[in-house]
Amino acid sequence: MNEQNRQAERWISFTLRIGVLTSALLLGTGLVVEFLRPHAANEVTDPLEILRAVLSREETPPGMILLSAGLLILMFTPVVRVMTALGTFMLEKDRAFSFVAIIVLVMFILELLISLA
């Protein structure tokens, strides 16, 4: 295995590690904050709704923001991993597998657009 491949593996591993650690940190902190807060019966628990509320500057419990951010980061970690792999394939001038990575990414982007529409 050449040094270029090893370098690619290190980058992909690093991306996954950072994603999982960041998400675990946010989820852990969010759970502690939520654990201490009394909950209302019909509270919004959908991460997309919470994100919308934050973007429209509505009052949102900080714990719920942390939990939503942690879940969304976790869900996007594999997508970022595909982007990292694409970058490493491009650096290796591997056109065939750059194309494979682009196909996977395009499927994700189309899915996101259709889902959020």
Binding site: E9, L74, M75, R81, F97, V104
Partner: protein
Amino acid sequence: MSACPLILTILGGVAAGTLGALLGLGGGVFLIPFLVLVLNVPMHQAIATSIVAVIATSSAGAAMNVERGTVNIRLGMLLEIVTVLGALAGGVTASVLRGEVLAKIFAALLLVISGTMAVNRRFTSVHPYEPRGERSRLAGEYYDEAARETVSYRVRNLPATMAVSFVAGNISGLLGLGGGIFKVPAMYLLSGIPMKAAAATSNFMIGVTAAAGAFIYLSEGHLNVLVAAPAGLGVLAGSMLGVRLSRVLRAESLKMVFVVVLALAAFQLLIR
């Protein structure tokens, strides 16, 4: 959700993750019945939660396996095209099916898994991989620490493995499981990839496949932060604990107990 169910969800996640890692299954096999039968979480929400847990454990495991060099990244990326398509189809199918129907499909799969565990078919005694021959860009090699040797292999019969991977992706999107139970034997038996590389590559792909399904559940409003966050974190912690315990515990002796537990959970879901 009050503090009590929050703690119960974390503990359930830890238990599911530990058992999943001990038995070589994903945590979802135990997590979904726990959420549905014990905490009365709706089936769609339980599946969405399991998908999040699958992403967490797969990403954490893949980070280590990639660094060790056991993952065949190119093969994984190629198979991801079909697993993502399968997951999208599964996620869309799940969004139009009622929770009761999904529960019955899940129960049927649980019975298949427990039956497979009972038969206890092991593939490790066979070595069908081909270390020699013309090497393609999908060929791989890794250093096997246990055997203290570098293992080289090439990939054959790719279309058959791609077909099985599509089914595995479909199960991931439909039922929130990783699908490794189908992919690993397919890679090993059909494509001649050594067991360690097959398991590591399957785990590497699971995160991307699960993420594809997760976005559909997210857009349908089935992801509940107060269920997914504690369960996901619990499964992640449990899977790490399970990996450590597997070094000192003999999971084989526990296997028959879990065969019965899974079969009982399946019947509970069927008659519910």
